[in-house]
Symmetry: D2
Subunit: 268 residues, 4 copies
């Protein structure tokens, strides 16, 4: 095949005069090494989106290069710890000025039952997100953590029992790129704000413990978010957060929901 005949259609001059903000690939599946807090690595199944801006004079971007970059960084096993480097290389290889990446994955943590101390892995939906725009890099960490919420109102007004349910807390934070917040630590913090954590394995003595703990510790979704906001505001390196708690009410077919977003003003 004569490659010279293969016109580079993407590089044709475009006359519409419109700069595009984000152009690239979405839902690319790759296996990726993630560094754990204990220094070990785990391999996660990742969905990746990687984009650049496209100046008005180019007709299109070069989609295959994004896959080449993701694959190269995956092989170097650095993608999960140097998003900034990946974004800079993307900008360079695509002749762009801005770049954006998000890596979404299930992350496993060994959780210990509260009484029997039995251990089993539990999966958490997480994301690493990086934005390099106007020569400034921002990093975002997202974790989704299931918890139990037990309704304070139901407990108060009922002669016995109280409705409770699984709820999901979604936390997204940004912090200075030279710092690190471990997924393990953020999960623990979030779990402490529910009526009780949820566990992969519970024997009878554990089930008694979490049932009574939740009953002693009733929480509205409002309470979960307020306690979480209190905690996040005290973590010095966090400069921005977005949190929500959705409780899959056991007495309804809809959810109770609370949401908060805040830029914590700091000279960082």
């Amino acid at each position: 095949m004569d490659n010279k005949t293969l016109v580079d259609v993407q590089s044709i001059r475009d006359s519409r005069g419109i700069d595009l903000q984000r152009v690239g690939v979405k839902n690319v599946e790759i296996p990726l090494n993630i560094i754990q807090k204990d220094g070990q690595q785990q391999i996660a199944t990742v969905k990746a989106t990687l984009t650049v801006d496209l100046p008005h004079h180019f007709k299109g971007t070069h989609m295959s290069r994004f896959i080449e970059i993701l694959n190269e960084w995956r092989s170097k096993k650095l993608l999960s710890i140097d998003l900034e480097g990946c974004l800079k290389q993307t900008i360079e290889k695509l002749n762009a000025s801005n770049s954006y990446i998000i890596l979404q994955f299930k992350y496993f943590i060994e959780k210990e039952a509260p009484v029997s101390s039995l251990i089993a892995p539990m999966g958490y939906n997480c994301a690493f997100e990086g934005v390099f725009i106007d020569n400034k890099y921002d990093f975002f960490l997202s974790v989704n953590v299931p918890i139990t919420t037990l309704c304070p109102c139901s407990k108060e007004i009922s002669d016995y029992g109280a409705h409770n349910q699984r709820a999901i807390v979604k936390v997204k934070i940004s912090y200075a790129p030279d710092q690190i917040v471990w997924i393990e630590d953020l999960v623990n913090l979030i779990e402490s704000t529910g009526s009780s954590p949820v566990y992969p394995i519970l024997k009878r003595e554990d089930e008694k413990y979490v049932t009574e703990k939740a009953y002693n510790n009733p929480k509205f979704v409002e309470d979960v978010i307020r306690d979480l906001v209190n905690e996040l505001r005290q973590i010095d390196i966090i400069k921005w957060y977005e949190v929500e708690c959705e409780a899959f009410e056991s007495i309804h077919n809809h959810s109770a929901w609370a949401y908060q977003k805040e830029l914590i003003k700091k000279n960082k």
Copy 2:
């Protein structure tokens, strides 16, 4: 345009000698009138699959005819009450011998709170399914009903409280086509097998009622399925069922699950 030049590729003779069991269209979205138990109609957003068998000598079926049939039956507003007629016409128009249809939709029922008697609609995922094969017609009704389950073990071993959660019960039944089982009745029957039904609207007095009712009425997923099986076996016109209950455990991130399928032998 000269239509005579448009070859009917589908009718070309195929030489592989393979009869196909089901060929057609999937995930066709249509609005559809459904007859309620009270005689009124409601319009549902339906996902439809409609297929025929394909004899070995034809290369392909004619996909556009399925859409024409669905649209014609929709306009006649009979599709939800005469699946058999629709299947027979499909067989005729496609020169086939067998046909299959499934219509999946959200169906709303007005539910009344147990104490305040406040009323609001609640949506249930349902399906009508028809099979016409070897000159025999079978009909299947599916309904998915959320309920509350309160754990008997957690109640028994804990000094106070008991974990409970939303669970989903999926029931699929078949009965003689000349009979009718109303969605409303099947939903009520299923709701009676949980620790408590779930409701769209509950005031404080209702919340106290359902909290205490669930606590007085603990159920494993095994209990839900056994009580349901008991009920279904006693309904004379039901000749086959498949049921499952999945409880989204409030103390775990996985589900407790029970399943049963049975052909109730009857000379029908």
Copy 3:
């Protein structure tokens, strides 16, 4: 039952000093009348989220009131045309100062095949979104429209053929609340920016037409977004938009994706 004994736990004074931005109900399912451009109505299956802010001194909001409000507005059949009124009443009934609503639904439009003129309904995922904050009301309309994109590069470099695929264009716009943009018009505009619209029913003469039309009209996702941006900028009443195009590449298992967001500056 003695209602006086049912303590209003939500109204208990909270001491954490944290104002919450959004608290309420999520994924409430209701049937809703939507006004069509032709003046007729259609009933849609809606997923609703409705929230208010919660001042720091209240422990919780009153979740059941949101359902009462949604149900009351649904019955008055005005919810889809007076989101602002609904938000104002929500603020009043919940003693709040801000309110937020989103209604997500499948909306059907009768589409006509380009040659045979056969007509069948096609469903589009849409959303109405309203925000009432600091005494200012904003409205957002979202529509998701499937189109065909045919790859300009594949066409140019190949001796025959060109890969093409279904793509989904998501458009969210905001405009002055005293104006109206019909879903039907926005869908038509979006469909005009693809290589070809997609249709619910196509006979052979139609299939020939759309195949050749797409081949004559190749588009990258970048082209779709640029043509769309061009159009949206010219619509005088639109003051803000967010658009994306995701093409489910027929030669890959991932998507090509382009995204743009813009506040069109106007003294409105």
Copy 4:
């Protein structure tokens, strides 16, 4: 804590007289080692369901034991290669007579571009399923493979071009437990039945190749299934299969779909 006080509610005698077919845990997430054809291992994120039958005289099963079993087999790194052993142990530990397991996961295979020979990983949804019932063990392997289909009718009737799209082929097979069918081989076989495979990375010379290959090789979903059936019937160790092909038509918002299931009679 005095464990003797923790009554074993599950072991209470049940009087409803109903044997349950499947009771256990669903959607348990675990990381799992899968053996590749090349002898290496990969770690997959698995969703597991594990159940037993429950004789009529027991009130409930012991849910935590399923998690213990899954976790123990995971640690021994044998779960993916000895489902039968896991089912037998489950039967023993739960005092049951039947058992069922399904493990669903994304499996990565390095795929090579057809001309440039560039390599990148591509993920396939797969499942291992085991049934141990009446002292007989059956194993099922499922793989979902995206392919390109190019419409023979569109090609024939159009002066140029032909609509094509991504399609997904789902294949489930059963074979003698003492044999092995590698995921890699089954994926290759399935990819050969489309108009073209899909690839994670394609440079311009590759894109030209797959565009022309698909145009030279038009396939209805019917053709894909027939070619696949032909292949599967010739593989001696396969005793049962269920296959479907769903094409996400680029000219419609619905799918073309074909389905076939067959017990290949053999004295095995």
